[in-house]
Amino acid sequence: MTETILLVEDSEDDVFFMKRAFKVSGLKSSLQVAPDGRTALDYLSGEGDYADREKYPIPSLLLLDLKLPYVLGLDVLKWIRMRPELQMLPVVVLTSSSEPSDLERAYRHGANSFMVKPSDPDELIGLVRCLHEYWFKYNVIPHLE
């Protein structure tokens, strides 16, 4: 069974680079995308179309941008950490900002990792490979109901 990774990212360009990195890396994981915070919440709580868990399974890993329209990435994180069924979901913050305040708040609210998006697409490929290897090869993912 292939694991699902949910990418919460509003920039179409970044989504493109991420999808390309996944493709180039030859990863089999299913990459789901939520283009804003509100959609991310809908996906995670199974609202509307997302009620179909066959099509939209609960992700094993969440890649979260912080600068999002409607609901900020940090609020998505807080919301996740308040939901008993999602509390253990590994969340990797992936952002263009290395602001100390963003970093601090992300970890304070339960981020498992904090990464600055590389501007070089080839570097992104390396990051995605490394990320995947880390979380799914060496790390043991908790099983969510």
Binding site: S11, D13, D14, F17, R20, K67, S96, S97, E99, P100, K117, S119, D120, P121, D122, L124
Partner: protein
Amino acid sequence: MLIPISILLVGGAVITWLVYLLREKNVALRRAERNCAKVLSNITDAFIALDEHWRFTYISQRAGDVFRLLGKDPDEMIDTRYWDQFPGVIGTNVEAEFRRARDEKTSVSFESFFAENRRWFEMNAYSTDDGLSVFFRDITQRKVIAEETQTALRELNDVKFALDQHAIVAITDPAGKITYVNDKFCAISKYAREELIGQDHRIINSGHHPKEFFRDLWRTISSGHVWKGEIKNRAKDGSFYWVDTTIVPYLGEDGKPKQYIAIRADITERKNAEERTAVALRELGDLKAALDEHAIVAITDPAGKITYVNDKFCAISKYAREELIGQDHRIINSGYHSKEFIRDLWRTIGSGHVWKGEIKNRAKDGSFYWVDTTIVPYLGEDGKPKQYIAIRADITERKNAEEALKNAQQALQAHAATLEQTVAERTAMLREKIGELEAFSYSISHDMRQPLRSMQGYARVLLSDYGGALDEEAKRYLERIRSSANRLDRLIQDVLTYSKATRAEGRLVPIDLGRMVREVVEIYPMLKAVDVEVATGEAFVLGYEAILTQCISNLLTNAVKFVVKDRVPNVRVWTESRGQFVRLCVKDNGIGIAPVDQQRIFDIFSRIHADTAYEGTGIGLSIVKKAVEKMGGRVGVESELGKGSLFWIDLPRATNHTTYD
């Protein structure tokens, strides 16, 4: 008294002689005897004759008078026995002496007390051929006087003893020579008795009294009057003593003083005390005068009624003394002080404590004055205040000045408060503006980077994914797009860093400059490739780790970057101690900076070289300057065109490696 006795003795001798004659002539001379009896009866002494059987044979006229006084008839006593008439004398010395005179044929003289008659008699009994002749005389009065004299003498002795014990006594003759002194006189004068007797009183003259004093003394006593006075004398050892003196002259029969008795009491203690008191009083007088001169003084009784005010009190209160005496202090009450203030004052002085404070009073003309007041309660023997002495100093001017100052201060404070509020408001506004500006520049930078990064990304993807389909020209253009995007990205990153440096805040921590320089050299590949000498040991400064790292890397990369093309960059780094600062020096062998440019190279976006000549955004040194200033330090450069540059930063030295806020 002596004269009558001697007469009696002479009389007695005459009688003895006459009796003797009678005995010689005896019976033949009956007539003569009768005549004699007649003579005898004329003699004032009482006379009786007793025969050998103690019977009265003769009772003289005077004896008869005596017996009659005793309740007997002398005529009936003739031929009766003496013992029958006076049975009370049997067993007394009268019987014994009578019998001795008769038995021994002699004469006896004795005194006897006739108890039943309560009278004294002097008796002279003479043995005669046919009995006893007895002369007797009532001496009761003399006996009583003698007794009284004895008693008086005894009492006198007692008095003298007592006097000697308690007083200093001396007796002088009319010429003033000392004839007697008692022990106390010797003790107080410290002279031995022998040294005093025969001297006159000049021996103890202290010289204190004027001549007139002693002239008056002598005039008084020599005219027979008693003199009383206080005399200061000098003892043998030179010390002085005071005696309360009474001199009594004893007059002879000629009315002139025979001797003077001087009785003295030691009053040295009292005199000294008086002297001390006098000195104290004099000083007190001076003090009072001084006090009156310089202070406002009032005295009140326990009820608060004014009993005394000095001139200064009257002057400041503008009341006449008569208007104040008998009033209480309400007359000058200004109404300024609270009732509690006045109550506290009274509570303090009423319980016997000194009260100090500043009081505002009102003068008669309605003007106000301030007095610094001290009220001292004077306690009676019962421990309760007898009177209060209030000493005041005029502090009106000071108070007015204080008042003015206070008003000025208040005005100033109000002004300052307004100013402060204005400043606070403006600061808040400014802060808000700055905050907005920072947030603005931050998001601008971020939002600018986002599409830029996409441009870079797509150029890159195009090159790697479709490189094969492009000719060299197309690839070169793509490369140009990429490098332009890179430059813009760096520019934006530097702007971000600069804005970060301006906002740096929080706690300054001790940082080892040497370690940090070596770490930066390690991290930057472009530095590792060139010749960088780091000659610095431990040098702790206070700073923010992130932006200090930025500063050092900026300085080091600058040093390597601005070098003439073919020259191998050589960079030397060291630290120096500069008082409270540690200076980090970075010296390069680069192109150097002309003096005109040295000032503006720290300004943001100031580049002194054409874009193409040397790589750079023109923000690096601005970041250094901003960051160093944020950490309480300073930056500088020493350079000459073509001779390299020396950039330095001074940062506060960290002592004890502790952290500072």
